[in-house]
Amino acid sequence: MANTENLTLEIESVDERKANVGETALLLLIACVIGTIANYVATGVGALEAFPGMAILFACSVAGLLMARFVPLALPSVAWVSLFAIVITIPGFPGSAWVVEQATKINFLSLATPALAYGGLALSAKEFAIARKSGWKIVIVAICVMLGTYLGSVVIADLTLRLFS
């Protein structure tokens, strides 16, 4: 295993407890603005019409960040964010019907597009080098890993669904 040491990815364990919530909220706002424009190009839903839905998603995101920052529980912020969004849309929660109606105006695929654009731009020389150096064997293994993870779940889920219904 020659020279793996200078090809080691720097994974900075992002300690969400130390994250600067104000700065992150500002960056979230930028992401939401880009998301709103993406949503407009994809669906034709204008910024004004999309605003309440986007504001709800923004609020869930910030609330999730704050929980991860201040609650002494080892839950990542994305888990908190999901939890908030789920709770406020469960039928019976005050205003849930309105929240759902507003959220429907935001196309979920359009919100993933900016993240992937950042992702493509963020790939470092090291990541390219690791992918190149690992060679074709790792590519085959990686495809098997993804196929296995997905198919394994599909088979078990399908069998369980048949069993219970």
């Binding site: 960056l27 908030f84 969004a85 979920f108 993870t149």
Partner: protein, 268 residues
């Protein structure tokens, strides 16, 4: 570290480039390429990622002036931030489907174990077909996204063979994962063997972009079931956020290690 890295002129150039990429990608829109009975679904996020790579300063020299390593590192942080509203949007699809989700509850919980299917398929391929060494353990024990990478880093260090394995699959997954997860579900759906709910809930593998690609492909193939697909996938993804690390730490990694010791005792 500069005081306000969020508001530098260089990071605004980055956001500007991203905005331009996003507009082009969304303008092209979702494309379906029919192949026989199935169809390959191309999603805007795929074009966005491809354009990002094309403009990446490690590929195109012209952008090196603007996209310095510092800005690139910042872009890496922006991925997590930009995916958060997407995660929230996914949460809002779960609430309205709560009855369907509870009904599929046992399947939803048990399919988390199905993530071990990576070992079933990838382990024999790596060890017996490709003759790989200890890299195998890091490579095949999980889908190798960030939390799984951190676990291997902690146990073996990333400069170990196991670390090389996990990094290789991580980097490859980063490069082609979105693409694989955009075509695999539709092809499996086309076999007609599986319940759409099973295909949907399996999309939640704990990676935002894989979840997006997977559900994007399924909802394009079966648009009339869109709400159900999103709700189940969203619920399963939250479950993976909560359980993924523990399944890896207590089941998947020990199991892979044990299998590897059995298969290649001479390497220990």
């Amino acid at each position: 570290m500069p005081k306000s890295r969020a508001l530098g002129a260089d990071t605004f150039v980055l956001h500007g480039i991203v905005l331009a990429i996003v507009i082009v990608a969304e303008a092209i829109g979702v494309l379906r390429i029919p192949i026989g009975i199935a169809a390959i679904v191309l999603l805007p996020m795929l074009y966005a990622f491809a354009m990002g790579i094309a403009i990446n300063p490690n590929i195109t020299r012209a952008t090196q002036r603007y996209l310095t390593p510092r800005v690139q590192k910042f872009a890496g942080g922006m991925i997590t931030i930009a995916i958060t509203p997407f995660v929230a949007k996914f949460g809002t699809t779960v609430g309205p489907q709560i009855d369907a989700i509870i009904e599929a509850g046992p399947a939803l919980i048990l399919q988390e174990i199905g993530n071990l299917g990576t070992i079933v398929i990838a382990f024999p391929v790596a060890v017996y077909l490709l003759g790989m060494g200890r890299e195998t353990v890091g490579a095949v024990y999980s889908i190798d996204r960030e939390p799984n990478l951190a676990l291997i880093a902690e146990k073996y260090g990333l400069d170990s063979p196991e670390g090389a394995g996990v990094m290789g699959v991580y980097a490859t997954g980063t490069l082609i994962g979105t693409f694989i997860f955009a075509i695999m579900p539709t092809l499996i759906h086309a076999t007609g063997m599986f319940d759409i709910r099973a295909l949907a809930m399996s999309c939640g593998v704990g990676s935002g972009s894989m979840l997006a690609a997977c559900t994007g492909a399924l909802t394009t193939a079966v648009p009339e079931q869109k709400d159900l697909i999103l709700g189940l996938a969203g619920a399963s993804n939250v479950l993976t956020y909560a359980t993924g690390l523990y399944v890896g730490l207590f089941i998947a990694l020990p199991l892979t290690q044990w299998l590897f010791r059995k298969a290649r005792p001479e390497l220990y």
